[in-house]
Symmetry: C2
Subunit: 574 residues, 2 copies
């Protein structure tokens, strides 16, 4: 602080000065030439002709525009299956220097200690994580088994952390139905002056009133610009989402391009490495907004100061002004908006789409297999005393977030209902992987199309147990045992052989491999799955989301087949 003030007041020369650039001042909307003086990791002064000393490092912007580092307003980092370090190395070259994240998958797998490690890991990268403490965890109803739950007791600890900036993903039903643990967490947040982030897809005026009345400050889930405008009118800040699986920018940007609303930001929610590598990250959303008719400075404000204001972190990021972190992008054209160079925490860190020196992940220690006993084909038998049964199968559709009921009549052979390619009924199980109870219920799915083998994944929110679907019980057992041995991963087995595996050893859900490598491996897994007959557009992704009980109409967790409307476990055999 003293060093920073000394540079600001001109009592000491700057460590670094960025010169030769034109400032995009998102605070006033003005554009004018200015230099930036940096002390340590912070901006100390902004203006013309700032004093330099003999040890001042000069960064020449060469006529480029100086833009604040971009902020992703809502991202599940772990859904990329990349570790915090690998994710940072992916998105920082595209100009993302801040993300708001709940780290909710890390949380259920490794608890607050795991979140602490992830935040410490982020501090060694060029990407800041502004952490929202999840409203509750897990989100599954009925509550499935996780490594660590998160409730009011944990909130009391988390709220004291300086990285904690609010309450993450407060699902609208939790508020409307008055979930006592969630309401208690909201009250704690209110006492600590922490903002509350909502999650209100397909909401309406009545329910939006309820959320606003409960103190929900912002939301990223509007399915139409009318819905988003209603939230804005009722005092809820809005975040336009454009993820790898949900494309809403073109629709929602109309609140800005047509209505002129100001309290709007951007987020990417879930992104795949391949999509970011091909199209960019938050910078892509800025380009899309400009293409949709939004003024470039307004679009940049959405990606910077607007987001910082709604999260109440505008004193630290989101603008180029004294006291803020020295996260500055150099951009040659505001219309084209491609990031030439990234300065983060006062240092040049990326240039022309690549990290200058990629961040190095922390030492992880030896991989620990999951504490799960060896699974056999016998463990996965769906048994019946009848000769023929009607099975309620979870039927995948071409929309990843819609799963319907399909009843299938199947024969019982030697007391067992086998998976049937002919009847489009595959077996599925979710193996509890934290060593708590050994749950391993068996159910059935339709619409996937596998003609042989098995696919398993331990990356699987909200609880990240091991999900496995297969046309063969034996192959399923091999796949599950391999995921367990790897300490987490995604595995494909055909005829008893592991034909592909992506190890995810960090918390059993993410990896330190590079985004390029992740994109290759993901494509490889999906290609293999398609070759095995899978007709879904993104086989592993469908598996990934299978345990989320917030997706209608059915889910499978370690408790069994879940009716997501009644929110209860139902019998597989009718």
């Amino acid at each position: 602080m003293h060093d920073l003030l000394d540079v600001a007041y001109g009592r000491r020369p700057a460590d670094t000065i960025i010169t030769g650039g034109t400032l995009v001042n998102v605070l006033t909307g003005e554009i004018y030439p200015a230099e930036i003086a940096i002390s340590g990791t912070r901006i100390a002064a902004v203006g013309p002709g700032l004093p330099r000393g003999e040890n001042t490092t000069i960064i020449d912007a060469k006529g480029g525009y100086l833009v604040p580092g971009l902020i992703d307003g809502h991202i599940h980092i772990e859904c990329s299956k990349l570790s915090v370090t690998s994710f940072a190395n992916l998105v920082v070259p595209f100009g993302t220097t801040s993300v708001v994240s709940g780290l909710d998958q890390i949380l259920v797998a490794e608890g607050l200690d795991g979140v602490r490690r992830a935040l410490d890991e982020a501090a060694e990268t060029s990407m800041r994580i502004w952490w929202g403490a999840p409203a509750k965890a897990p989100y599954t109803v009925p509550q499935s088994t996780v490594g660590h739950t998160f409730g009011p007791g944990e909130h009391r600890i988390a709220h004291e952390w300086p990285e904690c900036v609010g309450i993450w993903e407060t699902v609208q039903e939790m508020v409307e139905h008055g979930d006592p643990a969630v309401l208690e967490a909201l009250e704690l947040a209110h006492q600590r002056r922490l903002p509350i982030f909502g999650c209100a897809p397909l909401s309406d005026a009545r329910r939006i009133a309820g959320l606003a009345a409960a103190g929900i400050r912002l939301d990223h889930e509007s399915y139409s610009h009318e819905e988003m405008l209603e939230k804005l009118r009722q005092g809820i800040y809005a975040i336009v989402r454009e993820s790898s699986v949900a494309h809403f920018l073109e629709e929602n940007i109309q609140v800005v391009s047509k209505v002129g609303a100001r309290r709007v930001a951007f987020c990417t929610d879930d992104v795949h490495a391949a999509d970011v590598l091909a199209g960019g990250h938050v910078d892509k959303l800025v380009r899309m907004a400009i293409k949709a008719g939004v003024d470039p400075v307004t679009a940049i404000q959405m990606a910077t100061v607007n987001c910082a204001e709604m999260y109440r972190i505008d004193d630290l990021v989101g603008s180029i002004a004294p006291g803020r972190f020295a996260d500055v992008l150099i951009v040659d054209s505001l219309e084209d908006f491609r990031i030439r160079e990234v300065v983060a925490g006062g240092k040049p860190v990326a240039r022309d789409g690549r990290m200058i020196t990629p961040a190095v992940p922390p030492a992880r220690g030896a991989v620990q297999p999951f504490p799960v006993k060896t699974v056999t084909a016998d463990d996965l038998a769906l048994r019946s005393g009848e000769t023929e049964v009607t099975v309620l199968t979870l039927n995948f559709t071409d929309q990843v977030f819609v799963r319907k009921r399909r009843d299938v009549t199947l024969p019982v052979v030697d007391g067992i209902v086998e998976p049937s390619v002919e009847h489009d009924a595959l077996l599925v199980t979710v193996v509890e992987r934290y060593g708590k109870n050994g749950n391993m219920p068996v159910a059935m799915v339709s619409g996937m199309g596998l003609r042989k083998g098995a696919i398993a994944t331990s990356a699987a929110p909200d609880d990240n147990n091991v999900i496995c679907v297969g046309a063969s019980r034996a192959d399923m057992a091999v796949a599950i045992n391999e995921v367990v041995r790897l300490g987490g991963g995604q595995v494909i087995v055909v005829d008893g052989e592991v034909v592909a595996s992506l190890q995810l050893p960090v918390a059993g859900i993410v990896s330190d491999i590079s985004a390029d490598e992740m994109a290759i491996q993901e494509e490889h897994l999906d290609t293999l799955a398609r070759e095995m007959g899978c007709q879904l557009p993104a086989p592993l992704m469908y598996l990934f989301f299978l345990s989320i009980t917030a997706i209608p109409d059915y889910a499978v967790t370690d408790l069994g087949l879940v009716d997501c409307v009644k929110l209860e476990v139902v019998e597989v055999i009718q």
Copy 2:
């Protein structure tokens, strides 16, 4: 909270519905017809056709516009000499339902207990006080004697209070010169996520950088719109001030009318009852802004949501949206902007410029005289062993915030330098009134013009000791003793007789009389002072500010004559 959510979700009818109005939605800038449903003191829902029950009270807006209650972004309530209750009864009919205040005069007189009482008092009125804990108290340098000082230890307590929304009046010199107590308070605020309010008159780019780097979030002290724009560019929110003694709106509004800046609000800082009664309060500033070319909705945003955002209280006030306090104004014309009716905390409280039922002040208990021994003319003698002396007098000018040096040569009679009307040299003293040390230094002033008698006041920031100026030591003693007996007040004495007195028994600085009565008494005191020869435009106001060491070039405190440039006590007799 449960009741509020029940009404928001439509599970219970509203207590009150405001119907028949057109909503000015400051969140989106839109204007459209809407009803407002209220539960208790809060807004539960806003929209068309809200459900009512048989016990729902209906407020008919009769075609008026519905505007959020106005916010004064920086006000020293005590400078009006009105108690919190009387001040609320004055400004609420003009639409001011929230004020940000430091209560710094109450604080030095009665400590945190006094502030607590003032906040509890406010809670019984229709005016919310959002309290900023003063960066330090007193502000005088060298530190004069006060009832209660305020430093980091008191900050630790104050920051836990729900009414505390930040750090009040952080003077730029305290930051630039690194006052340790102030820097510690700022660090405490940072840890508690509390914003820091600045005080940076006549600043420049270098010093603004220092303030922004220190985390100063906002400022109300710009003397030109260029200075204000520089603050905005460097990330400091700006508040346009138009007080009874400092008129800056016409100049500073240009950052909005010409530059289009958004992060700008209004404040009145110091106001006199007569000015508010004649011209209005924050509503007057809205009218002035509109007259200066600002769009009415933008001007209303400045008086509401912009201010709420910069103070981070926008979840509670500043807009008409669910969860906020039901502070709603009914206005017939947005251009003319006169407040027809005021709803505060869900209840109609004022109509056509008058409180429906004025708030009643709390029982105060018996008035306590100040713990000061009886003062005699002898105590006020300026003594010298010479026959003639040169006296450094504090010379008033026609600007209340400029006081110059004037050297006067005076005779010494019987070892005493008497006040001299002929030489324009009156005696002045500041009597320490908290019973701590009995300080009562004597100095001299010029430029006031009193030809006889004495004037005394205990309302006198920053320390609120008893200031007395006179042409007669005997009259001064009478005046001081009367102020002491009254337990605070303003007194005029001529020829040994108290000819006028305004009792200020609350903390020795404010009164529960009505604003109308205050305006009459203030005018009476000033008129009498003028009749006694005083040529200053506002005699009592000049006296009032005499102890503030932040006003160049001289001040008088209970320590003596202070050189406000060197910030040290200087000898009166040269």
